[in-house]
């Protein structure tokens, strides 16, 4: 059974919440004070590991269980905690609120919130604009992103730090991936510390839970995943395909939020806190109120079997992304209209917009965003494409100036995205499009041919 998606976008909800009458706010504050007081009375202080003679959590996790269980979920277990206060500021600076919502994420104005705007386009909120039909085609691939609620209850802190630093594709049906941000390791720690502040990590408990699950026979795990309908939304790469996923027709995009947001189950062992996994499978809404993951009736032994399978099933390695070979330049004439229609208007102009059309916001790739400074790249029309970009010192350069290898910068950035996805980012050159799959070789060939022909209109 698939839950019905919320009709009202999350950011809109938050906006509405801000407009609660003042009396409601007073009441909320009083309730919160009472609740905090009650919690403080009943809070059990964790035992001091040093006093009890136990190892510190991270040490305990590494030392006692490294031999007993496979390594993946121990990755990052020794990652030092960061500064939550600095993390809160970084979350605002890096504009996590452009795509995500959550208790810890400050609401961003609606016009800048990608998902809310896309949802509005899809449900016809811009019917009065003649271009809205074309907009639908261009935004249908990004109509949902996971909310960042209850992060600490579900995800492992160490994994989160690594993911923030080196994001990768987690959700097969979601075209976008988390964009590569210009974060240092310490900044990633600060953000992860802030986001997991609701439920600080407890590697010892997780290690024991993982060790207990390791003892369970998970032979029936794959069958159970099929029987419980997990394959209706999830994929699990590296094992036999799960049954049940009705993929959209060829050429159409997936629009069901539950499917879009369903992660590849291969990554559960890397991401999830083993101590919370069975709780999650049993009652996901108890851990995360707004998850589209349904509650599926399962016995205790079924829960354990599935959890053990997710953590310990043998996974075949996935094929790494291999960048395609560049295609030869086209001999036929390529005009700007074709380049715009095939690539720029479809992929690029979302982030490289015209600030005059959007109350001064030209998108992250123009007026700045996601922690990136303004680069002044406007890809909305011929004359603006010719206007180049701003370098780190604020000087203007052409997008077509030659790189040391002779490639125009624009083309080099497109190939750099392939390198990023392959796991070997190009130093000093951010791959484009940010957070999207690399362009196909044919699309790059089209742009390269247009540039080589002198960028005819």
């Amino acid at each position: 059974m698939r839950p019905v998606p919320t009709a009202e976008p999350a950011a809109q909800l938050q906006q509405r919440k801000r407009t609660l009458p003042w009396a409601g706010r007073w009441l909320a504050v009083l309730c919160a004070v009472a609740l905090v007081a009650a919690c403080n009375e009943t809070k059990v202080q964790p035992a001091d590991p040093a006093a009890s003679g136990e190892l510190a959590p991270a040490q305990s996790a590494s030392a006692s269980l490294a031999a007993a269980v496979p390594a993946p979920w121990l990755i990052g277990a020794d990652e030092p905690r960061g500064n939550a206060q600095a993390g809160a500021k970084l979350v605002a600076d890096f504009e996590c609120g452009r795509c995500h919502t959550g208790r810890e994420i400050k609401p961003i104005r609606l016009e800048s919130h990608c998902i809310s705007c896309h949802q509005k386009v899809m449900r016809g909120g811009f019917d009065h604009k003649p271009e809205h039909v074309r907009w639908k085609e261009n935004v249908v691939h990004l109509t949902a992103t996971p909310s960042l609620r209850a992060v600490g209850r579900r995800w492992r802190y160490g994994w989160l730090v690594n993911f923030l630093r080196k994001p990768h594709d987690l959700r097969p049906a979601l075209v976008q991936t988390m964009p590569q941000l210009a974060l240092t390791q310490q900044q990633a720690r600060d953000i992860a510390t802030f986001l997991t502040g609701d439920f600080p990590p407890d590697p010892t408990a997780d290690a024991h839970a993982a060790a207990n699950l390791a003892k369970i026979d998970h032979g029936a795990g794959h069958t159970l995943l099929n029987d419980k309908g997990c394959g209706s939304c999830h994929e699990m790469s590296g094992v036999a395909p799960l049954k049940g996923l009705n993929a959209p027709e060829p050429g159409k995009h997936e629009t069901r939020p539950a499917v879009i947001l369903a992660p590849d189950l291969r990554f559960v062992r890397d991401r999830f806190r083993p101590g919370q996994l069975t709780n999650w499978l049993k009652q996901p809404h108890k851990l995360k109120r707004d998850t589209p993951m349904p509650e599926t009736p399962m016995s205790a032994s079924e829960l354990d079997t599935i959890a053990a399978y997710l953590l310990y099933a043998r996974l075949e390695p996935v094929k790494p992304h291999v960048a395609p070979k560049p295609l030869p330049l086209l001999s036929r004439r390529v005009g700007y209209a074709e380049v715009a229609e095939q690539v720029l208007n479809v992929t690029c102009r979302h982030c490289h917009g015209n600030p005059d059309d959007a109350v001064g916001d030209g998108g992250p790739g123009n007026t700045g965003g996601f922690g990136y400074r303004a680069r002044g790249v406007n890809l909305t029309s011929y004359k603006y494409v010719a206007a180049g970009y701003l370098d780190a010192e604020g000087a203007r350069h052409s997008l077509f100036e030659k790189m040391p290898d002779g490639q125009p910068r624009l083309i080099a950035a497109l190939w750099a995205r392939h390198a990023e996805v392959s796991g070997s980012p190009v130093d000093g050159l951010r791959g484009m499009p940010l957070g999207l799959p690399p362009l196909k070789a044919k699309e790059i060939q089209l742009i390269a041919s247009w540039v080589a022909q002198g960028r005819p209109r």
């Binding site: 002044g376 701003l390 077509f400």
Partner: protein, 231 residues
């Protein structure tokens, strides 16, 4: 008598009073002369300016300029760019259209006579006044830009080049942009070709004409005798 303070905060009382007033008000507001109608505030200038920008892109300068003048009749009164982004966009459209028409807009039949002002450019003085308006408007808009904008600078270079007092500055600006491959319009390349030709720079003129031809929809714009304008 003891002055008793209400336990409810004043805004709460005000909200209650407002709610009560709404509750007792007649369903049909005859006192207001009939029913209540929702009148959304729509700024029609936004679509209007966007259409004028499209006309400008298509080379229909008279249509673009007349649309702006009809929509904002007092636009010539703006001595400099304003805080209203729509006015600034309109100023830019009018300024560029005027430049590319060499200060003589063919809008006699498109706007009413009382709006003609100097726009038709009947005399040399009128044409120069119009071109000076273009320079002032584009300089003003440029000043307000947070990020450098070579597109706007190219347009300013075109306008400067046509006003004798600023032509040297215009040539410098266009030349600098062209050297960085940041000249964004074929019209600007056509003017640069003309200026280079006049300065005896044959190679520079050829290079500018070559870029102009690649960028222009209609190569006539870049003819050997390009004056940098076309109607």
């Amino acid at each position: 008598m003891k002055n008793r303070k209400s336990s409810l905060p004043r805004p709460f009382i005000a909200a209650l009073a407002l709610a009560a007033a709404v509750g007792v008000a007649p369903k049909q507001a005859e006192a207001c002369g009939g029913g209540w109608y929702e009148a959304p505030m729509i700024d029609y200038r936004i679509q209007g300016v966007a259409r004028a920008e499209k006309r400008l892109e298509e080379g229909q300068y008279a249509q673009a300029a007349s649309a702006v003048i009809r929509m904002i009749p007092h636009i010539a009164g703006y001595k400099k760019a304003t805080r209203d982004p729509i006015i600034n966009r309109a100023l830019r459209v009018l300024a560029v259209a005027t430049t590319r028409s060499e200060g003589s807009l063919d809008i006699g039949k498109l706007i009413s006579k009382d709006q003609h002002s100097t726009w038709l450019g009947d005399t040399a003085e009128d044409r120069q006044a119009n071109l000076r308006f273009s320079v002032a408007a584009l300089r003003g808009v440029k000043k307000l830009k947070v990020l450098s904008d070579p597109t706007l600078e190219s347009e300013l270079g075109e306008a400067l080049a046509l006003v004798p007092a600023f032509s040297v500055e215009g040539r410098e600006l266009l030349h600098t942009l062209a050297e960085k491959d940041l000249l964004t319009t074929p019209e600007a390349y056509a003017i640069l070709a003309k200026l280079r030709g006049e300065a005896g720079d044959a190679d520079g003129r050829t290079a500018a004409l070559q870029r102009c031809r690649a960028m222009a929809k209609d190569a006539k714009l870049c003819s050997a005798n390009a004056s940098g304008t076309h109607s």
